[in-house]
């Protein structure tokens, strides 16, 4: 168990001009679980593989505990990794797969078997110890891969999309198992995923990356409530936040026929820019008439999910400007397609971002 820190770490793949990971700074506390999330090609896997030693580091340093591991071989880093494809050794039984790292480390046979059994019990694999990987189901293979990592009691766990090959139902149950296991073992964990639900549920903190650049690191709640920029705002949350370019008026911003008032601090940060980007979460819209700015929306589609329903429509923003908008509505009084509805926006829940830099302006 240890802290992990990235200090200005960069990686540019040969033949590319743009770095895959650009000056990443990230400090991870002892025992913490940090999730790296972002769209494909954002550099999250590269960041993880650099920590594992599977990828060269072009600039910066990576430390585990107080050891500089930037240029150490993977075997000298005392880490364990769960691969997306599990990477089980096909010629070895489950027990040998789990115990392989111990065998390489020269742990005696009796001790090895004891620890393999212990890990197998934790993951409910006792019955499968003599099987070969090809005789296992996807979920079982995933658990063997986990077992291989936990049997080592490493300083750091690395998980590279460990759930993406499981079916949806198994993914949800395995997700909570991994989270529980991580808390019980208290081992520092870095978890890579492209699935924001996984990110929000598994991580003590979540780091959002885009285009090789770290966008924001925070606890899931903060990430959702106070996204640092337009990218994070659009990436976190499903359906995504509505991001609408609106003109600035003397006491707020104009949204359709109404003015959304802004507090003074936010207004000061707008700094005479004529336009800003207004972020409205789907759940900040109401179909029931309330006080606050209203939007006239033509309904294009209503997605019924049982507990919730989502309205997809086009909102008029003035004489000839329109914008797509998503709102969470009560499924019991969902409008029909092509109906015109009035959406009230909760003006205390709006986010304001700079139109030029995309950075958050509201506090």
């Amino acid at each position: 168990m240890s802290t992990v820190s990235y200090d200005g770490v960069s990686r540019t793949y040969p033949g590319n001009d743009r770095p895959a990971v650009d000056r990443l700074d990230l400090q991870i506390d002892d025992g913490e679980c940090v999730v790296l999330v972002g769209p494909s090609g954002c550099g999250k896997s590269t960041s993880l593989r650099m920590l594992a030693g599977l990828e060269d580091v072009d600039a910066g340093t990576i430390t585990i505990g107080d050891r500089d591991v930037t240029h150490l071989a993977p075997k000298d880093r005392d880490i364990a990794m769960v691969f997306q494809n599990y990477a089980l050794y096909p010629h070895m039984s489950v027990a040998d797969n789990i115990g392989f790292a111990l065998k390489v480390a020269g742990v005696g046979k009796a001790e090895r078997m004891r620890r393999v059994r212990e890990a197998a019990t934790m993951l409910d694999l006792q019955e499968l110890l003599d099987r070969k990987p090809r005789a296992l189901s996807g979920g079982q293979r995933q658990r063997v891969a986990m077992g291989r990592a936990i049997v080592r009691e490493p300083q750091v766990f690395l998980m590279d999309e460990p759930l993406s090959n499981l079916d949806a139902k198994l993914r949800v149950s395995t997700r909570s198992q991994i989270a529980a296991l991580q808390r019980r073992l208290g081992i520092t964990t870095i978890y890579v995923t492209h699935d924001q639900v996984e990110a929000m549920t598994m991580g003590d903190r979540v780091a959002v990356l885009n285009g090789g650049v770290l966008q924001q690191v925070d606890i899931p709640r903060q990430l959702y409530d106070k996204p640092a920029n337009v990218f994070v705002a659009g990436f976190v949350g499903s359906p995504a936040m509505n991001l609408i370019r609106v003109p600035v008026v003397p006491d707020g911003v104009r949204l359709g026929d109404h003015v959304v008032p802004l507090d003074r601090a936010t207004f000061a940060r707008i700094d005479h820019n004529p336009e800003v980007i207004l972020g409205i979460r789907p759940e900040s819209c109401r179909t029931t008439p309330q006080d606050g700015p209203e939007l006239h929306v033509r309904v294009e589609l209503v997605e019924e999910l049982g507990a919730d329903a989502y309205l997809y429509g086009t909102a008029a923003l003035g004489s000839d400007r329109h914008t797509d908008i998503v709102a969470r509505i009560d499924p019991r009084c969902a409008p029909v397609t092509n109906a015109m509805v009035r959406l009230t926006v909760d003006s205390t829940q709006v986010h304001v971002f700079s139109a030029s830099s995309g950075q958050r302006l509201s506090s």
Partner: protein
Amino acid sequence: MAQTHQSRCRWNRDAVETRVFGVLRWLVIAVLVLVTAFPLYYMVMLSLRSLDQVVLRPGVLWPAEFDVSTYVSVLTSVADGGQGFLVFLRNSFVIAVLTVAATLLAAIPGAYAISRLRFAGRRQVSALFLAVYLFPAILLAVPLFVFFARIGLRGSLVGLLIVYVAQTVPISIYMLRNYFETVPVSLEESAAIDGCSRFQIIRWISMPLALPALMSTALYVFMIAWNEFLFALLFLAEDRDRWTVSLGLSQLAGSIEIPTTVLMAGSVLLTLPIIGIFFLAERMLVEGLTSGAEKG
């Protein structure tokens, strides 16, 4: 409609093809079996008959009585009046086994390096391996003979061994490289994280997974070394004690006083070990060892 039309029309394309190919298939198989198996069969039969029988009636396909005395005389040493094939067999075997061992020792790390490591000129190197086979053996034979004679390796099994290894390493690397490339990289990365050094990865992961390829390569090299004739002739012809089986056989065939039955028995002895080893190794040439490594 379409179905009734089809059943009425008995000579449609599909029916014709099925019938013609049904007959043709067996015909082709029969011809091929005859062409390949008959010489072998005839060889074995000739070796099992006594010489006067063979001379009297060479065309008999199933002899009235079997006679193994030819084999006895072929195998007994020259000192006891035989042909001394036991020594030839031993020589061939020693050379073939040593060639296999030395070739694999060089080819495994070589093939691994070409398939996994990134170094300057990697592609050129792998193309060069096959370029070796652009030259006919006889072109290399004479300079090699002269060279080995100069450094005093003529007439020694060591010299022959060096030539065989040099000839089989490129093709072995080529065969193994293709197989190493099918081993998923993530397995090796996983092993690296589990604490393996590069050599441990080769030993514990790549080699066990490439076992079928290793076996077929070993078999192939063994066959080359066992059957090789030209270099054996050049290097070893002077000293009968060092002859290999194929060399011994051809030397005997050149002399008129050697009966056909003896030659046939020698040929059988040349062939049998290869067939035997092939059947022993066959079960190890299984495919699909890597299944289950990754999500299937």
